[in-house]
Amino acid sequence: MVWYKIMELFKTDTIYNFMAKRLPFLGLSGLLVIAALTLLLTKGLNFGIDFAGGTIVQVKYEQKAPIKQIRSILNAKAEYKNSTITEFGTPEEVIIRITGSSADLATDIGDTVSALLKPTGKFEVRRVDMVGPKVGGELREKGLMALGLSLLVILIYVSFRFEWRFAVASIFALVHDVTIALGMISLFGVDVNLDILAAILTILGYSLNDTIIVFDRIREGVQKSHKSVLEEVVNESVSRTLSRTTLTSLTTFFVVITLFIFGGEIIHGFAFTMLVGVVVGTYSSIFVAASFLVQLKFSVADFRVKEAEKLKRQKEKDKMRAMYEQGTV
C-alpha cells in the first residue's frame, strides 16, 4: 500500500547540514524581525477594548446590515463620532466600536445605540462589551508583566537545566517568534485583546517546547556523540528531531487550522495568531535556535569537561554516602 511509504516521511539516518546554511537562515530571520518591528513602529498594533478601553456592540440583522446607514446615524451624534462599524463574519452581522465607556450602571451604551438604530431595520444586540479606562490600563500592565515574567522564568529554567547559552539562544528564538507574530497581527490589523495575549503566550510555550526538544538532543549528542565539532553535533541532533518537530507541528497545525476555519468569528484572531505562531515556531526551532547556539560559540569540549566534573562529584558523593552508610550500619 502507498501509505506505508508515507509512514516514514523522515529517515533518521539522513543528516542534513543545517549549520552550513545558518547565516542565510539567521539573515532571513533578521529581515523578518526588522520588517515586523518596522510594521509595529509605523502601523502599530490595533489595540482592542480590553487594553484601550471602550465599548463594542455586536449587532445581527435579519437582512444584510445597512452599514452606511448605521455609520451616518452614529456619526451624527457627537459622542459616537469616532465609532467604527465593520462587518463581522457574515454580511448580516456588524461590530460597532466606540471609544467611550460609561461608568454609570443605569445608563448603558448598548441600550442607547440600539435605540438609535431602531430605524435601520430588525436586529438583535448579541454582545455588548465595555471596558473602562482603569481596567484597560490594569489589563495592559498585567499583560506586559505576564509576558516579561514568562520570558524570565524560561531563562532561569533553561539555564538551570542546560547552560546559559542554551537559555539565551532559546530566548532569542522566542523573541523572534513573538516579534514576527506581532508583526503579522499588525499587518492584518487584528484587534489585540486578551485572547491575542493568551495566543502569544501559548506560542511562547509551544515554540519553547520545540526548541527544548531540539536542545535536549543537542545536549544528549554532546554527551554521547563521538563528534566534537559543535556544528556536526547540532546537525545530527536537529536532523534526528526533524521528524518529531514536523509531525507535532503538523498535528497542532491541523487543530489550529480547523479552529481558524470553523471556530467562528470570535475566535478568529486567536486562531490566526496561533497559526502564525505554529509556523514561525517550527521554523525557528529547526533553523534559528540552534544557529544562535552555534553563533554564541558554545564549546562542546568545555561542556564535556563540566559534565564530567559534575559526574565525578556525584560519584564521590555516592561513594561518601555508601561509606557513611556502611560505617553506621
Binding site: T12, A106, R126, D216, R240
Partner: protein, 522 residues
C-alpha cells in the same frame, strides 16, 4: 505471563476515573458535578463594579454627626455650629460644665481622633486605621447587599464576589434579554439611601433665592423633589434617621390606588423618630431617597410605633425595586461600572456550535493521522489521547470549573500537544528499532530517552500557564487551567499509560515481530 503491570493498573484506574467523572458533563445529567458553561457560551452578564469607598467614609462621618446631634438634643446639651466638611466634624460646646458628658459620649465611639481647642471647639476625624476598616467593610457590605438584592430579584445563580481591595465581580448567567439586563443593572446600582430629614421652616420661604453656600451657612442643604417638578426644599444637612434602621419595607397601595412603600423602623429608630416628631409638631418632615425628596408631610402629632411610608409617583415595578433595595439595605457607597460583558444567548449557542465543530474535527484529523503514520502504536497513542480528554473534563467538573471559549481553545490545543509526547516516544522507539535493537529494549530505552525532553518541555509550558493564570483575568484563567490540567493528564496517559499498554502487549509484539503493523516501519 504478567499482563497487569503497575503502569497499566494506574492507567486503567485513571480511565475509570475519567469516564465516571466526565459522564455527568457529557450527558448533562441532572445530578453529579459537571462542567458549567461560561457566560460567553451560555449568554449572560458579567460586570466588574468599583465601590466608591470614599463615599462610605463620608457617610460614616455623617452618621456620627447625626448621633452627636441626637445625643445633644436628648441630653439637652447646648452645642453650636455642628457641621462636617472634608470628613471633619466641628462643633462648639457652649457650657464648659457639660464637656465631661460630651467627652464620655465620644469616648464610647472607637477609632476617633478628637481635638478640643481652648474655646471648646471640637474637631473630630476618623483615625487612618478606622478609615481603612470603614472602606473594607463598605466593600464587604456592598457585596452582601448586591447579593441580597439579586437573590430577591429571582435570578438564577447570581455570582457576586469581591475582587481586590475595592472591586466586585457580578455574574448573571440568567439574563436573557436587554430589558432584564437593564432591570438588574438598575437594581444593583440603586443606592437606596433613605433619609428622614427636618425641613428648615425658619427659612423655607427663601429656598428659591438661596445659593448652596448660603444654605450651608445655616447647616442646610437644598434638595429637589423626585417628580422633576422643580420644587425645592431647604432641609437640615444632618438627617434625623437613615435607612440603616429599617427592618422591613413592603409595597402597598394608597386610597388613590397608587403604589407606595411602607417601612418599619427598628426600636432605636422608632424612639428617635418618636422623640423627633413629638418635638416638631407643625413642622414638615422630608422623606429623602437617594438625594431626592419624595414627600414632605406635615407633622401633626407624635408618631410612635416606628412606621412610615414613601409615596411619590412610583410605578409598581419601581416601588417593588425600591422596597427590595430598602429591605436588603443601602449600598454603603455608590458603585461604578468598570467593565461589562454581556453576551446574548444566541451568540453563545453559535460559539458553542462553532468551537465544538472545530474541536471534533481537529480531534478526528489527529486520530486518523496517528493511525496512518504509526499503525498500532498510533492506536495506542489515540487511546491515551481520548483518556486525556476524559480526565481533563472530569477534573474540570470536579473543581466546578466553567468552560469558556478560550477554555475550548485550550482543549483544542491540548489535543494538538498531548500527542506530542507520543510522537517523541514513537520516534525514539523507531530510531532504536532501526538501529537493530530488540523490541523490549527499544521500548524501554525509547521511553527513558524521550522522558527528559518531554519533562523539560512540559514543565516550561506549565510555568507559562501558571503565569497566565496569575496575571490573567476571567476567561484567560480558564484557558490557563485547561492547558495545565491537559499537560498534567498527558503525563499520566501519554507517558505512563501507553508504556503500560506496551508492557502488557510485549509478549504478543515479540511473537509477531511485525514492525510494520506495530510501529509503522519496515
Amino acid at each position: 505471563m504478567k499482563i497487569l503491570n503497575y503502569r497499566l493498573v494506574i492507567f486503567i484506574l485513571s480511565i475509570i476515573f475519567g469516564v465516571v467523572f466526565a459522564m455527568p458533563s457529557f450527558l448533562q445529567t441532572e445530578t453529579g458535578k459537571k462542567i458549567s458553561l461560561g457566560l460567553d457560551l451560555q449568554g449572560g452578564l458579567h460586570m466588574l463594579l468599583g465601590v466608591q469607598t470614599d463615599e462610605a467614609v463620608t457617610s460614616k462621618i455623617k452618621t456620627l454627626a447625626t448621633s452627636i446631634k441626637y445625643f445633644a438634643e436628648d441630653e439637652e446639651i447646648l452645642i453650636e455650629d455642628l457641621s462636617f466638611k472634608d470628613d471633619i466634624i466641628n462643633f462648639v460646646v457652649l457650657d464648659s460644665d457639660e464637656v465631661s458628658k460630651v467627652d464620655a459620649m465620644l469616648a464610647e465611639i472607637q477609632g476617633l481622633d478628637i481635638q478640643v481647642s481652648e474655646d471648646l471647639t471640637y474637631n473630630i476625624t476618623l483615625q487612618p486605621a478606622q478609615i481603612a476598616l470603614t472602606k473594607d467593610l463598605a466593600v464587604a457590605q456592598a457585596v452582601e447587599t448586591i447579593r441580597n438584592r439579586l437573590d430577591q430579584f429571582g435570578l438564577a445563580e447570581p455570582t457576586v464576589i469581591r475582587q481586590g481591595a475595592e472591586d466586585i465581580v457580578v455574574e448573571l448567567p440568567g439574563i436573557k434579554t436587554a430589558a432584564d439586563e437593564k432591570a438588574a443593572r438598575e437594581l444593583i446600582s440603586k443606592p437606596a439611601h433613605l433619609e428622614l430629614m427636618e425641613v428648615d421652616e425658619d427659612r423655607a420661604d427663601q429656598v428659591f433665592t438661596m445659593s448652596v453656600s448660603q444654605a450651608a451657612e445655616y447647616g442646610d442643604i437644598i434638595l429637589e423633589k423626585s417628580d422633576g417638578s422643580g420644587e425645592k426644599f431647604l432641609v437640615k444637612e444632618i438627617p434625623i434617621l437613615n435607612g440603616s434602621q429599617i427592618t422591613d419595607a413592603q409595597v402597598a397601595f394608597d386610597q388613590a390606588n397608587q403604589p407606595i412603600i411602607n417601612f418599619v423602623l427598628n426600636s432605636s429608630g422608632a424612639k428617635i423618630f418618636g422623640d423627633f416628631t413629638a418635638r416638631s409638631v407643625g413642622k414638615r418632615l422630608a422623606v429623602v431617597l437617594d438625594g431626592k425628596v419624595y414627600s414632605a408631610p406635615n407633622i401633626n402629632e407624635r408618631i410612635g410605633g416606628g412606621r412610615g411610608q414613601i409615596s411619590g409617583g412610583f410605578t409598581v415595578v419601581e416601588a417593588g425595586n425600591v422596597a427590595i433595595a430598602l429591605r436588603s439595605g443601602a449600598l454603603p457607597a455608590s458603585v461604578k461600572m468598570l467593565e461589562k460583558r454581556s453576551v446574548g444567548p444566541s451568540l453563545g449557542a453559535d460559539s458553542i456550535q462553532a468551537s465544538m465543530l472545530a474541536l471534533i474535527l481537529g480531534f478526528v484529523l489527529v486520530i486518523i493521522f496517528m493511525v496512518l503514520y504509526y499503525g498500532l502504536a498510533g492506536v495506542i497513542a489515540n487511546i491515551a489521547l481520548v483518556t486525556n480528554i476524559f480526565i481533563l473534563i472530569a477534573v474540570m467538573a470536579m473543581f466546578g470549573a466553567t468552560l469558556t471559549l478560550p477554555g475550548m481553545a485550550g482543549i483544542v490545543l491540548t489535543v494538538g500537544m498531548a500527542v506530542d509526547a507520543n510522537v517523541i516516544i514513537n520516534e525514539r522507539v523507531r530510531e532504536l528499532l532501526r538501529a537493530g535493537m530488540s523490541i523490549p529494549k527499544a521500548i524501554e530505552d525509547g521511553y527513558s530517552n524521550a522522558m527528559r525532553a518531554i519533562l523539560d518541555a512540559n514543565i516550561t509550558t506549565l510555568l507559562v500557564a501558571v503565569i497566565l493564570y496569575v496575571y490573567g483575568t476571567g476567561p484567560i484563567k480558564g484557558f490557563a487551567v485547561t492547558i495545565s490540567i491537559g499537560i498534567l493528564a498527558s503525563m499520566l496517559t501519554a507517558i505512563l499509560g501507553t508504556h503500560g499498554i506496551y508492557d502488557a502487549l510485549l509478549p504478543k509484539i515479540n511473537k509477531s515481530k511485525n514492525l510494520r503493523k506495530w510501529f509503522g516501519i519496515k
